[in-house]
């Protein structure tokens, strides 16, 4: 082995060790790296008690209710398995819609209601003109596939 082969082998080995170490570290910190908890995790008590955290999921169709003060809203966040009722006082982002993704930061009440201090809209990775979206909605009515990444990142769907 020439010296330069040795050096390349050393670099390669170093990167390999580094890669393995990184995988182990990221696995260990898995729970700290998620941006939000799913309603299923809320239901099974995996969420931090007594302090602020985020929940994310789909805003259930027909669940959005606006109170008389015009500022307080109630809606239900779901991951299709479990549902969490959310109340929020403030201005919702423009893209906040029923049937679309949303992430809310706040605390869980004693009665299981999530009191949000901030609500963010999560949009998906599909881009198309409105006509195409309409056509897709029609196709969906007849049972076609749609993106699932709104609720659960790809690759983790099986774990739900």
């Amino acid at each position: 082995m020439k010296p330069r082969h040795k050096r390349f082998a050393f670099i390669g080995l170093g990167l390999l060790v580094l890669g393995v170490a990184t995988v182990l570290i990221l696995n260990a910190f898995q729970s700290n790296l998620v941006f939000f908890f799913t309603p299923t995790q809320v239901a099974s008590g995996e969420v931090p008690q007594g302090r602020s955290f985020r929940i994310g999921g789909m805003v259930e169709d027909g669940s959005l209710v606006r109170e008389n003060d015009g500022l307080t809203v109630r809606f239900i966040v779901t991951d299709t398995a479990k549902r969490v009722p959310v109340t929020y006082k403030g201005i919702l982002p423009d893209l906040f819609k029923e049937g679309k993704g949303a992430v809310a930061q706040g605390k869980l009440n004693a009665d299981g209601t999530f009191v949000a201090s901030e609500v963010l809209a999560k949009h998906d990775e599909n881009y198309m003109p409105p006509e195409a979206a309409e056509a897709l909605a029609k196709a969906k009515a007849s049972g076609a596939q749609q993106s699932k990444s709104l609720v659960v990142p790809q690759g983790r769907q099986g774990s739900l």
Partner: protein, 253 residues
């Protein structure tokens, strides 16, 4: 090999300097042309998005910039690795020349991301895995550049920043796969090798043209910068004809 060109000769800075000089205008012109076409398609031909309206159009800068930020980091690390393995001066110079352009694209991706996040998500910035790891990439570029300038001996500076660059390369797959591995506010990939594209074809065309334009721009700028690095380091008589003339006139006095 049937060609008569000895490619290896370009591994010497003296031979590479004029070659780089003659390539720069080509890459620069093509970059400007493609950027013009890409932006035109992106802003005037591509349709309005069904969810985000016109706000999505920043994607034509944001995504190519983010791709370039990751890609350039890998290229920089590869040059650094080659430099370490072969003790090649030119490789280290290339690594040095790439860092500022990579940092610029990282900053551009973060900036356009913030401008996109406010109207769509409702927040300029969130600490989700995608955004945070991209911010770390910016710090890595800054670290590579700082480390180099903080060491006076060029050869030691080369090696130290090469090690830094190589270690930091683990962050690139983390950035790329962050949206799959963890739940993030940032949406998943619209374009991927595995799943194809989730965009209308005119949008995709504009985005790919912009990516190609950013590529060519990067090549042009990096070649120009590597020429500066060569002149700076070698403190040799400049290899340019124009510079040679100046040298002669100065010498004649």
């Amino acid at each position: 090999m049937s060609t008569d060109i000895n490619w290896l000769k370009y591994s010497s800075p003296q031979a590479f300097y004029p070659l780089a000089g003659s390539l720069i205008p080509w890459f620069a012109c093509m970059a400007v042309a493609l950027m013009g076409v890409g932006l035109y398609i992106g802003f005037f031909i591509a349709p309005t998005d069904f969810q985000q309206g016109e706000a999505y159009r920043i994607i034509f800068v944001h995504v190519p910039a983010a791709w370039m930020s990751m890609f350039l980091y890998v290229v920089m690390a590869v040059w650094a690795g080659i430099g370490m393995g072969l003790n090649a001066r030119l490789s280290f110079m290339m690594a040095q020349a790439i860092a500022p352009t990579g940092a610029m694209f990282t900053f551009l991706a973060l900036l356009t991301g913030a401008m996109w996040g406010k109207p769509t998500w409702g927040a300029w910035w969130v600490w989700d895995a995608r955004l945070t790891s991209e911010l770390i990439l910016l710090f890595q570029y800054a670290g590579v550049m700082l480390l180099r300038t903080s060491i006076d001996d060029v050869r030691r500076a080369d090696r130290a920043s090469a090690v830094f660059a190589l270690v930091g390369v683990v962050n690139v797959p983390i950035i790329y796969f962050s949206v799959q591995w963890w739940n993030t506010l940032h949406q998943g990939a619209s374009v991927s090798m595995a799943a194809g594209s989730k965009m209308v074809s005119t949008m995709l065309t504009a985005m790919l043209l912009m990516t190609l334009a950013f590529w060519l721009y990067s090549i042009a700028v990096i070649l120009a910068r590597v020429r500066c690095v060569m002149v700076e380091r070698e403190s040799l008589p400049l290899w340019d004809e124009k510079a040679a003339v100046i040298q002669e006139t100065v010498g004649a006095r």
